[in-house]
């Protein structure tokens, strides 16, 4: 009897005794009988028992399906729970970035740009117009994507490259607007060249311009984070990213807080 093509391969994985034992049922049983036993047709002597048999079979099948569906439901619930947590986390970032949208006094603008809650070294290390620079967050994701073992690394890398490019362009536009305000304030502030203008409109209007820039920057931060979490990454990668991002924010904050206490600004006083 010739061996089928699969047999040598099967033998490769089994010891000799095991192999013989494995083949035994196939040798002893006539192929036709084997086929029939697989179908397991009920005997025709009782119509009732036949129905019972099918009912049992169907019932068992339904039970298995139910159990499978229950497992799926559990997993789905877990997914919804993760999605809910992701949305909540995003919501907290939005609320944090959205604080500039609330009523803002002129004296609040400096605090939005250089917040006292952030150690100066943290601000210098990662901030742009008062909080994490959006393109830096994206660069961070690109860097941690390797250790996150993302589902589609090539696709994520490609999508991130496009996104970083777009976000950097938008940052440049916002920078340009800020530069415009900072370089022309000498003409518009009440103590600048336009000294004969009434004070408050000039001052207020300059602070309003700066505020608009801050709001644009905050919106870009929200947009970049949403794009990453909702478009670039799948759900579990997004969850992992948010966890890692928070962890990195904490580590940088912890380290830069210590910087503040270690470094004093000491320069020789020069008599001009």
């Amino acid at each position: 009897m010739r061996r089928t093509a699969s047999q040598p391969l099967l033998r490769h994985f089994l010891e000799d005794d095991e192999f013989v034992e494995h083949l035994k049922p196939f040798r002893d049983v006539d192929p036709l009988t084997r086929q029939l036993s697989c179908i397991s047709l009920p005997k025709r002597d009782s119509k009732k028992s036949c129905e019972e048999f099918w009912c049992e079979k169907y019932g068992a099948w339904r039970q298995e399906q139910r159990s499978g569906a229950a497992k799926l439901k559990k997993q789905l619930k877990a997914r919804w729970a993760i999605q809910k947590l992701i949305d909540e986390q995003l919501g907290r970032y939005k609320a944090h970035y959205g604080r500039a949208m609330g009523p803002t006094k002129m004296s609040d603008v400096a605090e939005l740009l250089m917040p006292k809650w952030a150690p100066p070294h943290e601000a210098a290390a990662v901030f742009w117009l008062g909080d994490w620079r959006p393109s830096t967050v994206l660069e961070l994701l690109r860097s941690i994507a390797r250790s996150l073992d993302v589902w589609d690394p090539v696709g994520v890398e490609r999508a991130l490259s496009h996104l970083i490019n777009d976000v950097r362009n938008e940052e440049a536009v916002i920078d340009e607007e800020m530069t415009e305000v900072q370089s022309n304030c000498v003409l518009h502030l009440p103590f600048g060249r336009a000294q004969n203008d009434p004070n408050w409109p000039g001052l207020r209007s300059e602070f309003r311009k700066v505020h608009r820039v801050i709001v644009k920057a905050q919106n870009l931060r929200i947009k970049a984070l949403e794009m990453v979490v909702k478009k670039v990454l799948n759900q579990s990668d997004a969850a992992e990213f948010l966890v890692a991002y928070m962890g990195i924010q904490d580590v940088i904050n912890e380290i830069t807080t210590k910087f503040k206490t270690r470094n004093a600004v000491l320069v020789p006083l020069k008599n001009s």
């Binding site: 949208m101 803002t104 006094k105 002129m106 603008v109 400096a110 740009l113 250089m114 100066p120 070294h121 210098a124 290390a125 990662v126 742009w128 620079r133 393109s135 830096t136 660069e139 994701l141 690109r142 860097s143 941690i144 250790s147 950097r168 940052e171 920078d175 530069t179 900072q182 370089s183 304030c185 000498v186 003409l187 502030l189 009440p190 103590f191 600048g192 060249r193 336009a194 000294q195 004969n196 004070n199 409109p201 001052l203 207020r204 309003r208 505020h211 709001v215 962890g247 990195i248 580590v251 380290i255 910087f259 470094n263 600004v265 000491l266 320069v267 020789p268 006083l269 020069k270 001009s272």
Partner: protein
């Protein structure tokens, strides 16, 4: 390397930069600016005397930027979020100080004021009232500026437009490099600390170069203008700096509770009708 280069000099005394800045500001507002104004309004003041005041003011500004370099080398982060600046000043700071474009825009405003007032033949410019009381050479300093001067101002602006965005890009790239280093192994705190320190070193270079740019723009402006033009320009710079610390204005600014982002449209309409 940069730090050691900046601190290679022998230190005679150590002062927190905030204290230095307060002393520096006091000298500017109480001594140098009044002296310059006095020289500008004096009918008998010879150009040589005015030149001395111009030089003193220029030297004072340069000394501030030199000290800011040293402060940046000691702690660049504090220079980027300076606690010696008030809430009125902070929004207008770019890499630790005024944007260098501000100096060229101010210079341009002198040129434009003159061309607009000469074309309308009416003395309605901001400095109109002053010009009536100023001696003739000062009042006429910016009238009919030469084509050479206009061309040189164009050149200064052109150079700035190339260099300032490059500095901002360096700052951004330093931040990107930090997260590239940190992202892969962020749980190793020593690695993160080293990456932050490396970034700070790079930022020191950026701030020092920004100061160099500001110093060079001021020097360029003084080199292309005559003594009267330079005196008026520096007087405007100093007046602007002093204005940020005007106590009455600052008090009014701090006390103002009216939000700036509510009824924006209404405010814009009111302003446009004024």
């Amino acid at each position: 390397m940069l730090k050691s280069a900046l601190f290679g000099r022998k230190k005679t005394a150590a002062t927190p930069f905030a204290e230095f800045y307060n002393n520096w500001f006091q000298t500017l507002s109480s001594t140098l600016l009044p002296q310059l104004r006095c020289a500008l309004s004096s009918l008998a003041a010879p150009p040589a005397l005015l030149s001395i005041h111009v030089e003193a003011m220029h030297h004072h500004l340069q000394s501030y930027y030199n000290a800011l370099d040293e402060a940046a080398a000691a702690d660049v982060a504090l220079c980027l979020c300076p606690d010696w600046r008030n809430s009125l000043e902070k929004p207008f700071l770019w890499l630790a100080d005024l944007h260098p474009y501000l100096f060229t825009n101010l210079l341009r405003s002198f040129l434009n004021d003159q061309s607009s007032s000469s074309s309308s033949d009416a003395d309605s410019s901001a400095g109109g009232d002053d010009q009536e009381t100023q001696p003739w050479p000062v009042a006429a300093a910016w009238r009919s500026p030469s084509k050479v001067l206009t061309m040189r101002v164009d050149q200064i602006e052109c150079g700035l437009r190339l260099m300032a965005p490059a500095l901002a890009a360096r700052g951004r790239e330093a931040q990107a490099n930090l997260v590239r280093d940190v992202g892969a192994e962020w749980e190793g705190k020593e690695g993160v600390r080293a990456a932050v320190e490396a970034e700070m070193e790079e930022l020191v270079g950026v701030v020092v170069d920004a100061n160099r740019l500001r110093r060079s723009v001021l020097a360029d402006v003084l080199s292309v203008t005559n003594v009267y033009q330079a005196a008026l320009f520096l007087e405007a710079v100093a007046t602007f700096l002093v204005g940020f610390r005007d106590e009455d204005l600052l008090q009014e600014f701090e006390d103002c509770e009216r939000p700036i982002n509510i009824n924006i449209n209404i405010n814009i309409n009111i302003n446009s009708t004024e």
